[in-house]
């Protein structure tokens, strides 16, 4: 007879069963994602950090403690890269798994449940984020943008938290959509303003008072500020705790929302 099929004991063992699926998908698609994952962020570094940065004084008082513009925006670009990878992975692909290819329906006809399936997808997103952020971190290291090795490792690890804080709520949003048209707005009115105004390219102290408040509410600012504290070795423990707390709470709320929305969509 051979081994028997079983029900998973928790969402982690359930999600682990989907690893082979994601491995096969990634083996098939990695070339297509390599440019956006590895090359585009380096274009930003070159254009913004090196070329544009050549016109900007490396004044630590103006740049939140950074001694060069490159050192200022490197952590911002790292966090933004994590965010952008997430937006790409949990919008159209989630809709495809529900509506176009119906892959999730195939998965949940097995002992796997909705939380198992979501967790496995989030695991894949973290893998993608980890890989592209690792490449970014390693390439940036020789430019001297990391004050300490520990700070570089810390900044890299923070990206998993940034990724989760974006991934769970956006996954939830995508899981309830009937068609893909809102995604264009999500990118144009969500991701791009976050990218531009969350302190990645300039200190948010330059913004008007009300815009500063707005920026500080966005998850990307928390991610950027936390990353920057680590790369510049200027850790403010209490502020860091606020950042981590904010991102953890957002990721957790997003998780419950995602499970709720996908269950409502699929278990009818």
């Amino acid at each position: 007879m051979g081994p028997e099929s079983t029900a998973p004991t928790n969402p982690f063992t359930g999600a682990a069963r989907v690893l082979d699926y994601w491995a096969i998908v990634y083996r098939r698609t990695w070339k297509g994602s390599a440019i956006t994952s590895f090359v585009t962020p380096l274009f930003y570094v070159l254009a913004m950090g090196v070329l544009l940065g050549g016109f900007i004084d490396g004044d630590p008082d103006q740049l939140e403690g950074a001694t060069s513009y490159l050192a200022f925006i490197a952590p911002g670009l790292l966090a933004a890269q994590a965010m952008q990878t997430v937006f790409g992975e949990v919008t159209y692909p989630v809709m495809s798994m529900i509506k176009w290819h119906r892959t999730y329906f195939g998965m949940t006809a097995t002992p796997l449940g909705v939380p198992d399936v979501i967790l496995s997808h989030l695991g894949f997103v973290l893998f993608r984020v980890g890989l592209s952020c690792a490449v970014f971190t390693i390439v940036m290291a020789p430019f001297g943008v990391f004050e300490t090795v520990l700070g570089a490792v810390g900044a890299f690890l923070v990206q998993f938290l940034v990724a989760l804080a974006f991934a769970t709520p956006i996954f939830a949003f995508s899981a309830g959509l009937k068609d893909e048209s809102p995604f264009a707005l999500v990118f144009r009115l969500g991701m791009i303003p976050l990218f531009l105004f969350s302190g990645a390219f300039f200190p948010i102290a330059n913004l008007d008072r009300w815009m500063q408040v707005l920026a500080k509410v966005t998850p990307l600012w928390h991610g950027v500020d936390l990353t920057r504290m680590l790369t510049l070795d200027q850790l403010d423990w209490s502020m860091a705790a606020v950042h981590v707390g904010y991102l953890v709470v957002l990721a957790a709320l997003g998780w419950f929302w995602a499970v709720h929305r996908l269950t409502k969509r699929m278990v009818t």
Binding site: M1, G2, P3, S5, T6, A7, P8, T13, R17, V18, L19, D20, Y21, I24, V25, R28, H101, R102, T103, F105, G106, M107, T108, A109, T110, P111, L112, G113, M266, V267, T268
Partner: protein, 314 residues
């Protein structure tokens, strides 16, 4: 003491979607090794019933036990022991045939080595060994359906659920699928299928229920249902285009005493009788001249027509 031979037991099973009630209280008992069918037209509640049995759709009311377990609390355990061949393919079209089966086997918690071995066996069983490395999007409809069946067998299920297994396939592809399902039945797999094809129900099922508008209107083996609700033979009469004063209804009234029952369809009359040839001879004796005549045995289609006044396929 649990009844270990009861694979599926439903009592007063209902399913509502808001105001709409798709399944309005049905009782079903499927036994081990049986090939059981739900026959009915589109919208009869067959797929809703199947999704509840597959433990992916919550029961609205009534009781349902699959392998003695309650889908509300033991969904994953139930799903680990059944196989599901859904109406709409959920194959991963961008993966190869082999990879589709392999990843699916992994979802059931089976070790890789075991899955690889089963994949080879199943490819052989559904005659897709040569297509193992092909992308699913390049397969024909019949091949995709066979692959879906293979996929639903990867966990060696005790019950195989097939929702409209041959809908959309050409006749030749249907016969290949039927042949494979018949082999499974002979191996002792409990088959539960829905269909709106009466020939499929007749060929594959030992026992079936006829569903209409969310209710079961008859139950039995194909032969007993035909014996109970129809005659041995049917004489089909086709007349030319209906004219004023010579409508199908008017023609029917001229022959209604020649048969146990007469049904008027848009394109023909059906005369239910024990001896079709004799009936047609009598029709000719009355001076009526149908354009074409046909004598055939009664089928489940006739049973359905009798019970609901409608045909299975619109």
């Amino acid at each position: 003491m649990a009844d270990t031979d009861s694979m599926i037991l439903a009592q007063g099973l209902r399913k509502s979607f808001g105001e709409f009630e798709a399944v309005k209280g049905i009782d079903v008992d499927v036994r081990r090794g049986e090939a059981f069918g739900f026959l009915g037209p589109n919208g009869a509640g067959k797929s809703s019933t199947m999704r509840m049995i597959a433990a992916v759709s919550p029961v609205s009311s009534g009781t349902l036990r699959i392998l003695g377990m309650d889908p509300a609390t033991d969904g994953p355990e139930i799903r680990s022991r059944i196989g599901v061949c859904p109406q709409e393919d959920t194959l991963d079209t961008e993966l190869t045939v082999r990879d589709n089966l392999f990843v699916y086997g992994r979802y059931f918690g089976l070790p890789r080595k075991e899955v690889r071995q089963r994949v080879d066996e199943l490819l052989e069983f559904v005659q897709l060994t040569e297509k193992a490395s092909a992308m699913v999007e390049d397969l024909s409809g019949g091949m995709k359906r066979r692959l879906t069946i293979a996929r639903s067998l990867i966990n060696r299920p005790e019950i195989l659920l097939l929702d409209e297994p041959t809908t959309g396939l050409d006749p030749q592809a249907r016969h290949v699928v039927w042949d494979r399902l018949f082999r499974l039945k002979q191996q002792g797999v409990t088959l539960v299928l829905t269909t709106h094809y009466m020939d499929e129900a007749e060929q594959l099922t030992d026992r079936l229920v006829v569903m209409d508008k969310g209710l079961i209107v008859a139950e039995g083996s194909p032969l007993t249902l035909i014996a109970e609700h129809s005659t041995r033979e049917v004489a089909e009469l086709r007349f030319g285009v209906a004219e004023e004063g010579n409508t199908h209804e008017a023609l029917a009234s001229k022959v209604e005493d020649l048969a146990e029952r007469v049904e008027v369809l848009p394109d023909r009359l059906l005369l239910y009788t024990a001896d079709g040839e004799e009936t047609i001879a009598k029709v000719h004796e009355r001076g009526l001249e149908p354009v074409a005549t046909l004598v055939r045995r009664s089928t489940l289609e006739d049973v359905f027509l009798r019970l609901t006044g409608r045909t299975l396929v619109d």
